[in-house]
């Protein structure tokens, strides 16, 4: 539409043609050439007026004016390279930071999944009403799953997925893969087409169906270099030959699996198609479902509640006394706790952008004041208010656009840096965080907003008011008491207040991080290597076989040079072992008593560096003879025995009663007490915990812990060799030093908050310094004349210095007060993100006020010194 307009030259040609035709006609009627021409012109009327009307009605004028404004704006900005650079850089920092956080929010909170209509997918949990803080049970046993699927009236479709550890034996030996066993409708449900081959389909779940599986893109690339010919070939997975039928696209990471296997469901349980029915596992499935059209989430919840109440009678052990069913969107589950942090950061970048805008508005205001004369001249020779306003806004738009462009570059680099500090597992793995088109669109919107935020006030100020006085003495003697002066001071106060809030947030994060980092773990995490072991199904299934294996492995490990101690365990520190209800003979209590228990070898305490408090540790004989002896931690002693001496008393871990190949109704004699150790949630009080010989049972995945004398990571090779010397089929997975686990899973979250908020607060502080400096420098330059008079009348240099400093610091002080008041209310929003420090920590608030006061003073010193060096004679002649 825009380009359909005609060019003025084209229009002029048409008018010429008209005049010629008309002249021709009149000549035919007998007029002479000159007469005819004059008559034609007379009949036409005013040619210039017609051309003008064409021009004004067409869009050319609009376009010409815009181009004019742009050219003029660019010229003005080029004339002040310093100011332009500061303004563009300031906006680029603000916009870049906003882009980075928006990108994370958009890609994780708004569109985290690649699935078809992902917003329609929901989950539900069995929520224990007596434990309000717990999120509830998500997994369903297979019979439960079938009951829900068959009895509900609200779901269009429902899928179930369970974890399946898969041992893959290929050319490079045995390795453990992350597997997910899915009901056969799952891929249809998710609706993401495979890059190669086909989905797992309904027929693949039948008991006699040929075994198939699908592969993750990453595994395809890393292990098979994207070879398309592997489709349709047969893999040995868990000892079963399986045909690869499909490969999913890169972003598809459903359940984080390397391979997906079809799951057949029946009333008696779940079988991964192709695996022997005897290996049927007591599997728990995570259901996901879509509502039927027109059904509200409330209807879903009430329908599911009815079913749950009914089936809780069938499986009383799986249901708490008081419960209800809660439904939730899939995204809410995956992003979970991290959402709070993202909202905090979103608020932080909004503040940062505001600081940047008020900074630039300030610079533009200062310049608008000095351009008053120019504007007044333009207005007096006929420029309309609208036209002037538009021209000034075009100038700020040019600034904002340049800032946005640079900001996008900053954001691109910023996102890369952000990915490096992002805590593992905080975001859904399928979210792709990048500068994509929604982010760019958002940037355009921010550019417009920025243009108005930083351009409107200066433009209105420049255009408004009387012309006459401004023509007379523009650009001089405007003191800070005038309207724009007050407005600019207000902007500085606002900036300081915003930056105090940002700084306080960062300060609280820092205190919280240090508090977490200084939590006493109760063990020494340095130089411990942890390795999880995986064996083919059915290997080492009895305690005896288990013992035989480890009794060969442990001495070999200890013999490896550099190994100080080694132990076998079930729980992988810093994550705890299994949990169980406990029974202590002779004790009656109304609530459940829960404790962690750790089947381990006698080397555990030495490997972990946990000191003995009383009694004795597990001995080699205890472990060798699978004696029912237990060492407990102090938390267990305190909690269940109070003032009594627990040594010599008995304790039963009820979970053992349920486990196969474990002593049932076994009471362990307590032989010793060790110090408390922290698990991955450092903020929580230590759980009661017991340590028993690993030889009493064979359940659970076993892990090896090895304490080394130096850096543990390079030791993995020799440790693997020691294990494979005993059993070449053993797969070593999830290996790493405990220190690394702690960094990745425990400290990464708080560190992320600290780093990102810290960077934002630092940028904010820098912008505030620039803001205070520019306002003070400008007001000093306007007051040169006044200062000159004062000095001519005998004012001392120090007095002038003090005067300027005092004025600047008054603004900063006012900003600090307002900011601290805002803090009292605002930092509470941070409370869920910090730990070990009050959200109104006075020390943090005070030290941040100090930081800003010092920075503000520095920003005032240079203009103040310049003011004190004013030469009265020069200043007076300055007029």
């Amino acid at each position: 539409m825009f380009w359909r307009k005609r060019k003025p030259s084209n229009f002029a040609a048409e008018l010429d043609a008209h005049l010629e035709l008309e002249t021709g006609r009149l000549k035919e009627q007998g007029l002479s050439g000159e007469e005819a021409r004059m008559a034609a012109l007379r009949a036409f009327g005013n040619v210039t007026r017609a051309e003008e009307r064409f021009y004004e009605e067409g869009r050319w004028m609009w376009w010409d004016h815009l181009m004019q404004d742009l050219r003029f704006g660019l010229r003005i900005l080029r004339k002040n390279p310093g100011l332009t650079a500061v303004a563009v850089l300031t906006l680029a920092l603000g916009i870049g930071a906003t882009d980075v956080i928006f990108s994370v929010v958009d890609n994780t909170l708004l569109r985290p999944f690649p699935y078809r209509d992902a917003d329609g997918i929901s989950i539900f949990r069995i929520h224990d009403l007596d434990q309000a803080t717990q999120s509830g049970r998500l997994q369903l046993s297979v019979p439960e799953f079938l009951d829900f699927r068959e009895q509900n009236h609200v779901f269009a479709d429902m899928t179930g997925t369970g974890p399946a550890n898969v041992l893959y034996t290929g050319a490079g030996g045995t390795q453990e893969l992350q597997g997910a066993a899915v009901t056969t409708n799952t891929f249809q449900f998710l609706g993401v087409p495979p890059v190669l081959g086909r989905w797992i389909a309904t027929g693949d779940g039948a008991p006699d169906a040929p075994p198939v599986f699908m592969m993750n893109y990453r595994m395809w690339q890393e292990q098979f270099h994207g070879d398309r010919n592997i489709l349709g070939t047969v893999f040995n997975l868990n000892g079963v030959p399986r045909t690869l039928v499909g490969i999913m696209p890169p972003r598809f990471q459903y359940f984080g699996a390397d391979v997906w296997l079809p799951l057949g469901l029946s009333g008696s349980g779940a079988v991964v198609t192709g695996e022997p029915v005897a290996d049927r596992r007591r599997m728990y499935l995570i259901p996901e479902e879509r509502r039927k059209a027109g059904i509200s989430p409330e209807t879903v919840a009430s329908d599911l509640n009815v079913i749950a109440q009914r089936i809780s009678k069938l499986y009383p052990k799986d249901y708490p006394k008081h419960f209800n069913v809660k439904t939730d969107a899939l995204a809410s589950d995956v992003v979970g706790d991290f959402k709070g942090m993202l909202y905090v950061l979103l608020a932080a970048v909004a503040m940062l952008l505001l600081i940047a805008c008020s900074n630039v508005a300030n610079l533009l205001l200062a310049r608008a004041s000095s351009r008053e004369k120019e504007i007044a001249v333009r207005a007096s020779i006929g420029a309309s208010h609208g036209r002037l306003l538009r021209q000034l806004l075009v100038e700020s738009f040019v600034l904002a656009a340049a800032g946005s462009f640079l900001g996008c570059l900053f954001a691109y680099a910023g996102l890369k840096a952000l990915m490096a500090v992002l805590p593992q597992g905080a975001l859904p793995s399928e979210a792709v965080i990048e500068m994509n088109s929604p982010v760019l669109l958002f940037t355009v919107a921010v550019t417009m907003l920025t243009t108005l935020l930083c351009g409107l006030a200066p433009a209105l100020h420049a255009v408004g008011g009387e012309l006459h006085p401004r023509l007379k003495d523009a650009g001089r003697g405007v003191n800070s008491g005038s309207r724009p002066g007050r407005f600019r001071s207000g902007l500085v106060v606002g900036e300081v207040a915003l930056s105090i809030v940002l700084l306080a947030g960062a300060g609280l994060m820092m205190r919280s991080f240090f508090a977490i980092e200084h939590v006493d773990l109760g063990f020494n995490p340095q130089h411990i290597l942890a390795v999880r072991l995986a064996f083919p199904e059915g290997h080492y299934s009895t305690p005896e076989q288990n013992k035989l294996f480890f009794q060969q492995v442990l001495p070999r490990l200890s013999a490896v040079p550099g190994v100080v101690a080694a132990a076998v365990t079930v729980g992988l520190p810093p994550f705890g072992g299994p949990q169980s209800e406990v029974t202590v003979p002779g004790k009656t209590h109304s609530e459940r008593w829960n404790a962690l228990f750790e089947p381990c070898s006698e080397g555990w305490f030495r490997t972990m560096g946990i000191p003995l408090v009383r009694g004795r540790l597990l001995s080699e004989t205890d472990v060798d003879s699978a004696r029912q002896a237990a060492v407990i931690n102090q938390a267990l002693a305190r909690r269940f025995f109070g003032q009594e001496d627990p040594i010599g008393q008995k304790i039963k871990f009820n979970a053992l009663d349920q486990a196969p190949e474990a002593p049932h109704d076994a009471y362990f004699e307590i032989v010793g007490i060790v110090a408390d150790t922290k698990k991955e949630d450092l903020q929580q009080p230590t759980m009661p915990e017991g340590f028993i010989p690993y030889t009493v049972a064979s359940f659970g995945r076993r892990s090896l812990l090895v304490r080394t004398s130096g850096n543990p990571d390079p030791m993995l090779k020799s440790i693997s060799r020691a294990v494979w010397a005993v059993d070449p089929d053993a797969a070593l997975t999830r290996s790493g030093s405990i220190q690394t686990f702690l960094q990745d899973f425990v400290y990464a979250g708080p560190r992320f908050g600290l780093v990102v908020l810290g960077v934002f607060a630092a940028i904010g502080l820098l912008l505030v310094v620039i803001g205070v400096f520019s306002v003070m420098a400008y007001s000093v330059s306007l007051q040169t004349h006044e200062i000159g008079i004062r000095m001519a009348l005998g004012a001392r240099r120090s007095g002038v210095l003090g005067m300027v400093l005092a004025r600047g610091l008054r603004l900063v002080a006012l900003g600090i007060v307002i900011g601290e008041i805002a803090n009292l209310g605002l930092t509470r929003l941070l409370a869920s993100q910090i730990w070990g420090v009050s959200a109104r920590d006075p020390l943090t608030f005070a030290s941040m006020a100090m930081v800003i006061a010092i920075a503000g003073t520095l920003a005032c010193v240079v203009p103040a010194r310049k003011a004190s060096r004013v030469d009265p004679m020069v200043a007076l002649r300055y007029e």
Partner: protein, 118 residues
């Protein structure tokens, strides 16, 4: 073509020029000068159509998509821009004509009764 006669001519009512142009084009494509002449001829030289006003009007109609234009050659072999009615322009003509007729009839009724009473 006396000056007296020019003074007696009727000023065009606002908005009627568009209608006249559209109506003129119903007989086929025509250039600006031809349109002006046709209007003047068919109104018996009663209407004052400043030729200069034609072109901004034509431009307006073109922008609204009621007429389409292209350069061509006139009957006496001169270059000129020819305008023709588009389907949308035809619809607009029908709409405007109806409106104009109702307006004229209504005004006619008012003036008619007055004349009768007097």
């Amino acid at each position: 073509m006396s000056t007296q006669k020019e003074k007696d001519r009727l000023e065009l009512l606002q908005g009627t020029l568009d209608l006249l142009i559209l109506r003129t084009l119903i007989f086929g494509p025509q250039h600006g000068q031809g349109i002006g002449r046709t209007i003047q001829r068919t109104t018996g030289d009663e209407l004052l159509v400043e030729h200069g006003a034609l072109y901004p009007a034509l431009q307006r109609l073109e922008e609204r998509g009621w007429v389409a234009a292209e350069w061509g050659t006139s009957a006496n072999n001169r270059k000129a821009r020819f305008y023709k009615l588009t389907p949308a322009g035809r619809k607009q003509l029908v709409r405007e004509t109806t409106k104009w007729r109702r307006l004229a009839a209504a005004i006619g009724r008012v003036l008619g009764t007055e004349a009768g009473e007097g």
